[in-house]
């Protein structure tokens, strides 16, 4: 994949936040497995890195296999290891689930008591639908749920839920 294709994709997202950069550049050679990486404008988690050389005496290049952290789609990228990649700032925060609205929007509260009501149930993929169903059924059973909200490049989504330690006992 050419380098040009790799850059210049995040223009669309830049406007979403108040001026703060959504990504920062890092040398491809230092990106590790399980690290984050932007491929084709999507924030991804690297599931496999392999290095090789172009011909025996060429320079090293990295082959990434990565998974979109929101959609679960798989992406691949090949880039010289000395080139810079975009690394997304990924933020993970836990909220206690207060309510599941009829419109599918959730009411959440962080650890300092601030509420957040602009986030819906995960949707779009099978896994997301499964997770949404799980949240709904657990909530309906009266379990106290803690959800993890993943935020990167101006998007956010619930990506995991667990039953709060307090409610299990």
């Amino acid at each position: 994949m050419s380098d040009d294709e790799h850059h210049g994709h995040d223009v669309h997202f830049e406007s979403a936040e108040s001026g703060a950069s959504l990504t920062y550049p890092q040398q491809a050679g230092t990106v590790r497995k399980n690290g984050f990486l932007v491929i084709k404008g999507r924030p991804c988690k690297v599931s496999d890195v392999s290095t090789s050389k172009t011909g025996k005496h060429g320079h090293a290049k990295c082959h990434f296999v990565a998974i979109d952290i929101f959609s679960g789609k798989k992406y691949e990228d090949l880039t010289p290891s000395s080139h810079n990649c975009d690394i997304p700032h990924v933020n993970r925060q836990e909220y206690t689930l207060l309510d599941v609205g009829e419109d599918g929007f959730l009411s959440l509260m962080d650890e300092s008591g601030n509420t957040k009501d602009d986030l819906g149930l995960p949707k779009g993929t099978d896994d997301a639908d499964k997770l949404a169903a799980q949240i709904q059924s657990d909530f309906a059973e009266g379990k106290e749920l803690v959800v993890t909200v993943l935020k990167a490049m101006g998007e956010e989504m619930i990506n995991a839920c667990k039953i709060s330690a307090g409610s299990e006992k």
Partner: protein, 1137 residues
């Protein structure tokens, strides 16, 4: 019975049809596992003409015979063997070779089973009968069948080829030694006589296969694991492990049999006659090839004969035996090596034949040479077959082998395609390095002078090898370096060549060192040519990859030739090099070795030469760095002054300082030049190998400190300059380690303290700064990246700490403890950072724990405790099992991350226990350090997090159970005094471990159980308050242990470990044992098996009650035997349907 036969035959037919395969397999399995299938099997074998059905019946007989051995009773056992024997040794046998083989195998297994049951005299009589038939039967087929039967018996009795019978190792060993003492030699004698008498008929195809059978049997005998009956274990140290595997050491008793002048004249006759074209007409081509290959095989085994069978070198003993030591050994070698070698001579012809597909004679000759080489060495070969000893060996055996090697190398032998040429090359190179070992080994006595002409032969071989390797290097240059290579490099980044290549290089070096001067000169010339060509190629813009690849190989070869790998030990100067340098100095001629070394180091300066730098590819530089590291490890600042101009070149009085300076400039260029940006593998080699090697060695480390280039590098690191910090975390970790190691070379303590402090102060400050950032800021990806780099730098620095720099490091570390706790909290949602922090904690504890005084140790322990509690409080991984994640793949990776964290935690806890080794008690009046409490608190945090998902990672469960075993062995008294839930939890995990299928986990759990049970048996009085609780807990362990041992297969060693655990358990909880026995017996509804089980249980319990309560060594040994008997019997009963 006919019905069963029909069913079986039909199932066998259906088995070949894919659609019915499953169904047929079920029928066959059902038949094999059926109760008492003996009559049916015998019926099938007698009446069926269906080969596959006969084969199934034979296998079933074997399996059922073993399984139901005890139930058969003496009559049944005898009948079964009688049947097998009469079926096998019939005049006109209707069975094919495969059925015959299966029946022979069944007979052998049952014979061994009977042997183990203690009825040795009777079994020996059986074997004697077979021997008699083999010696004197009038019918050729019967004689041949009986020889094949003997072959099966000996194969079965050899522990290396024995079938698994669920017996402990000791039983197999008992059979081995008993057969070796009574039968083996007799059988060999018998079969050699048979072979001699049948060889003429065999050449006409009229021996009924006796000769082939004899040779097969002899080969099996020569693969026997001979051991001195007086010693259970071998005492003689082997030079290399592979020597021992190849060699067969029958001992003195076999001297007369194998070394007699006419012992193998029949074999020589056979192989030479088969080689003549006119004789081949009397036999079919297949028969003749089969005979020839079998006889060559036997000769290869004979070439491997070694040890006491040859008369000793000691003059007195030799005289008393009336033998000439060397003569006997040499004559023997000539006798066995000559015929097989002739099959591959003249070499040109045999290589041609091999290229046409007939490679076996050539390969067998190579095998024979490789087998004989470690036994006889070059001198033995030379004495046995000197120049002029025969028409085919005009210039002696060594030159012929050299010629053969050159021919094989010339046909692409250095490739790694696994074809015949590369196999032959491997064998021949191994043979050469063994032949020349005495002359080339470091530190070996120098009296082992090589025979005349060997040096020339070796130089010829080396020359051919270099040419072949260079030709090979030219292939596949434009292909990308494959993933496999990259993976191998990732597993051990400091190794730039694979271990297979390394082996070949070492063998080539052994050959080259025999004629060091010409070989080093050859390499130097080749390197020089290519070094001169590179700037030309770079200027003209031509592709230089051929020259680059050749230089890579030449660099590796050159370094291997003049310096040993060392592998963690201080490498010595090879004798050959020292001799060569001295000779050059004495004769006043230029030193070839020095020239080669200089050229190798010159490779590393390529990036500094503007004309050649475009050709200094990362791969070439990797090879150059590795070569330079190897050279410097051996020669830089040598302590001995014996090396003439080479010593001057590398020495501190000579140009050593310049060499170090040059190396450092190259290192700097390789780390910082933009053309090597992100070449991680190269950077790791530079920092992890070359710099580390320079830092480890005191004299070079001292030079480093005075080198401006080094000061620049260390200064840049101390100031955390951007160009260094962008090298990547794993490179920086290695760099930090190397830089910290240098502190040990500073003689003034205060100065050394200052060096370490200035090196690490700014990174300590950076850690503190990051730890004070607001969470949102610190959580940003770039800051997280910085933080992981800092943690890695501290991990590397901790690894590079020495006793000398510990005080300085601890002073810095103390200020770091609180910030690290903050980082742990900040990065609680960043798996990698958390994992690295835990690894750093484990590293800090490991490094400092044995140096710290009580006060500091308490501080460190308080910190560890705080880190553990923080980990628990942050809820990392809490309820990992109940998390529902968005993506299954991501969930899998989350599991892998969790496993890495827990493993780091366990490592931390394990390192904490190491305080026990350093702690000699605390002064009175001060609170002591409770290691056990700390570890149990840690386990309380770790165990709930270990979900079943995570226990699928073998490394994690092994680490946990090993820690548990350690704790239960050292602190058995503490476990049951732990709070209720915690003790229960540990006992539950132990029970889980006892049911594990992993050998390592099971072993650790058995050791833990044994330690705990032994403690309670010896120290808990039956009436004490803890007794009841302990008894309840241990009873469940006894159940779990018995269940595992009876239901699942396990090796002999584990049965012994289980016995050690079972003994104290049974003694401490006799009631539980009784209940268990009762349950076991009542689970069977069949009277016969019930009484058998009762009997073996009674035997076990009586042997345990007979044991004195202090469980001394002899009584434990006795119990082991009765326990393994019990397991064997009870398991076979429980497996019955």
């Amino acid at each position: 019975m006919d019905h069963i036969q029909q069913v079986l035959e039909r199932a066998c037919d259906q088995f070949a049809v894919p659609g019915f395969q499953k169904q047929a397999e079920a029928v066959l399995l059902e038949f094999r596992q059926s109760h008492q299938p003996f009559a049916a099997c015998q019926h099938v074998l007698q009446h069926s003409t269906h080969q596959a059905a006969q084969f199934q019946a034979a296998l079933t007989l074997r399996e059922a015979g073993l399984r139901e051995w005890e139930g058969l009773g003496p009559g049944g056992q005898q009948g079964l063997r009688q049947f097998l024997l009469s079926t096998l040794l019939r005049d006109s046998t209707p069975h094919g070779a495969i059925v015959q083989g299966a029946l022979s195998g069944a007979f052998a297994v049952l014979l061994k089973r009977g042997w183990l049951a203690g009825n040795v005299a009777q079994q020996q009589a059986w074997l004697g009968d077979v021997e008699a038939i083999a010696a004197s039967s009038q019918h050729l087929t019967i004689r041949s069948a009986s020889i094949w039967l003997l072959e099966a018996v000996i194969t079965e009795f050899n522990p290396a080829t024995a079938s698994a019978m669920g017996m402990p190792w000791a039983s197999h060993e008992q059979c081995r030694s008993s057969l070796q003492a009574t039968h083996l030699r007799r059988v060999a004698l018998l079969v050699m006589t048979q072979a001699r008498t049948s060889v003429v008929a065999a050449l006409q195809g009229q021996d009924g296969g006796i000769c082939r059978a004899c040779m097969a049997l002899l080969s099996v005998i020569l693969s026997w694991d001979f051991r001195d009956p007086a010693h259970g274990l071998r005492m003689s140290p082997a030079v290399r492990p592979s020597d021992d595997l190849l060699q067969v050491k029958p001992g003195e008793a076999w001297r007369e049999l194998l070394l007699a002048p006419d012992a193998f004249d029949w074999l020589t006759h056979l192989i030479t006659t088969l080689g003549h074209p006119e004789h081949q007409q009397q036999l079919s081509q297949a028969d003749s090839q089969c005979l020839a290959s079998q006889s060559r095989n036997l000769l290869v085994r004979l070439c491997a004969v070694a040890g006491d069978i040859f008369p000793p070198k000691d003059g007195k003993q030799r005289a008393s035996l009336g033998l000439q030591c060397q003569t006997a050994k040499d004559t023997y070698l000539a006798r066995v090596l000559h015929p097989v070698l002739l099959c591959a001579l003249p070499s040109q012809q045999s290589v041609q034949q091999a290229s046409c597909g007939n490679q076996d004679p050539l390969l067998d000759a190579c095998r024979a040479v490789a087998a004989a080489a470690p036994v006889h060495r070059a001198n033995g070969f030379h004495r046995a077959l000197p120049p002029g000893c025969g028409p085919q060996l005009p210039s002696g055996v060594l030159s012929s082998i050299a010629e053969l090697t050159q021919q094989v190398l010339g046909t692409g032998g250095m490739g790694d395609d696994g074809g015949w040429a590369s196999t032959a090359t491997d064998l021949l190179l191994e043979a050469w390095s063994a032949l020349l070992l005495e002359a080339t080994m470091c530190g070996s006595p120098r009296d082992a002078d090589l025979p005349e002409g060997v040096a020339e032969a070796a130089a010829g071989v080396f020359h051919a090898l270099v040419l072949a390797a260079l030709a090979e290097a030219g292939k596949g240059l434009d292909e990308d370096e494959s993933e496999g290579e990259a993976d191998a490099a990732a597993a051990n980044p400091e190794a730039n060549v694979s271990s297979v290549e390394e082996d070949r290089l070492a063998q080539a070096a052994a050959i080259g060192r025999t004629a060091l001067e010409p070989c080093a000169g050859l390499l130097a010339g080749l390197i020089q040519q290519r070094l001169e060509a590179l700037p030309r190629l770079a200027q003209s813009g031509q592709d230089a990859s051929q020259a680059q690849e050749e230089l890579c190989w030449l660099a590796c070869m050159g370094a291997a030739l003049v310096a040993d790998a060392g592998d963690g030990e201080t490498p010595l100067v090879p004798n050959a090099v020292a001799d060569c340098c001295q000779a050059a100095a004495a004769a006043g001629r230029p030193d070839t070795i020095q020239a080669l070394c200089q050229l190798l180091l010159q490779l590393l300066t390529l990036p500094l030469n503007p004309a050649a730098s475009p050709c200094a590819s990362p791969r070439l530089m990797e090879a150059a760095v590795a070569a330079a590291a190897r050279l410097c490890g051996t020669y830089l600042m040598p302590s001995s002054e014996l090396l003439g101009s080479l010593g001057h070149f590398f020495g501190s009085e000579g140009s050593g300082q310049q060499v170090v300076e040059g190396l450092l400039s190259s290192c700097q260029a390789l780390l910082l030049r933009p053309e090597y940006t992100a070449e991680g593998a190269l950077h790791k080699l530079v920092s992890g190998r070359l710099l580390r090697m320079l830092a480890l060695c005191q004299p070079t480390a001292t030079l480093l400190l005075h080198s401006p280039a080094y000061q620049g590098l260390a200064g840049g690191f101390a100031e955390q300059r951007h160009e260094l910090m962008s090298l990547g975390e794993s490179v920086l970790k290695r760099l930090a380690e190397a830089l910290c190691l240098v502190a040990a070379a500073i003689p003034d303590f205060a100065e050394s303290h200052g060096y370490t402090t200035s090196l690490l102060q700014s990174s300590a400050g950076a850690v503190e700064r990051v730890s004070q950032l607001p969470a949102a800021e610190a959580g940003k990806a770039d800051v997280t990246g910085q933080a992981t780099i800092l943690i890695q730098i501290w991990r590397g620095a901790t690894q590079g700490m020495t006793a000398y720099s510990q005080t300085a490091m601890w002073a810095l570390t103390q200020h770091l403890l609180q910030p690290l706790l903050s980082l742990q909290h900040i990065y609680r949602n960043h798996p990698r950072a958390t994992c690295l922090l835990l690894k750093l904690a484990a590293g800090l504890v490991e490094a400092h724990i044995s140096y710290l005084g009580p006060e500091d140790a308490r501080q460190l322990f308080a910190w560890v405790l705080a880190a553990l509690q923080q980990y628990a409080r942050d809820g990392r991984r809490a309820h990992a099992g109940t998390v529902h994640s968005l993506n299954a793949r991501l969930q899998e990776e989350a599991n892998a991350e969790a496993e890495a964290e827990l493993r780091a935690l366990l490592r931390l806890l394990f390192n904490v226990t190491q305080r026990d080794l350093a702690d000699f008690g605390t002064p009175a009046g001060q609170p002591g350090i409770d290691v056990a409490q700390m570890v149990f608190v840690g386990l309380d945090i770790v165990v709930p997090l270990m979900t079943t998902e995570l226990l699928k990672f073998p490394a994690l469960s092994v680490a946990y159970f090993q820690l548990l075993a350690h704790m239960l062995e050292v602190y058995p008294e503490r476990v049951l005094t732990l709070p209720g839930h915690q003790a229960t939890m540990l006992m539950n995990t132990l029970r889980f471990g006892l049911s594990s299928m992993s050998q390592d986990v099971l072993q650790a759990s058995l050791e833990a159980t044994a330690a705990l049970a032994r403690f309670h048996q010896l120290h808990t009085p039956p009436s004490s308050s803890t007794s009841a609780g302990a008894r309840a807990a241990l009873s469940t362990l006894l159940w779990a242990l018995m269940q595992r041992m009876l239901e699942e297969p396990s090796g002999g060693d584990l049965v012994e470990l289980a016995a050690d655990a079972a003994l104290p358990l049974i003694l401490f909880c006799p009631e539980a044992f009784q209940t268990l026995g009762h349950d076991l017996v009542s689970s069977r509804n069949d009277k016969a098996t019930e009484s058998q089980l009762t009997a073996s249980l009674m035997a076990l319990s009586s042997s345990s009650t007979a044991i004195s309560s202090n469980m001394d060594r002899p009584s434990r040994k006795a119990f082991r035997l009765s326990f393994s008997d019990f397991i064997l019997v009870a398991r076979s009963i429980l497996q019955m349907r």
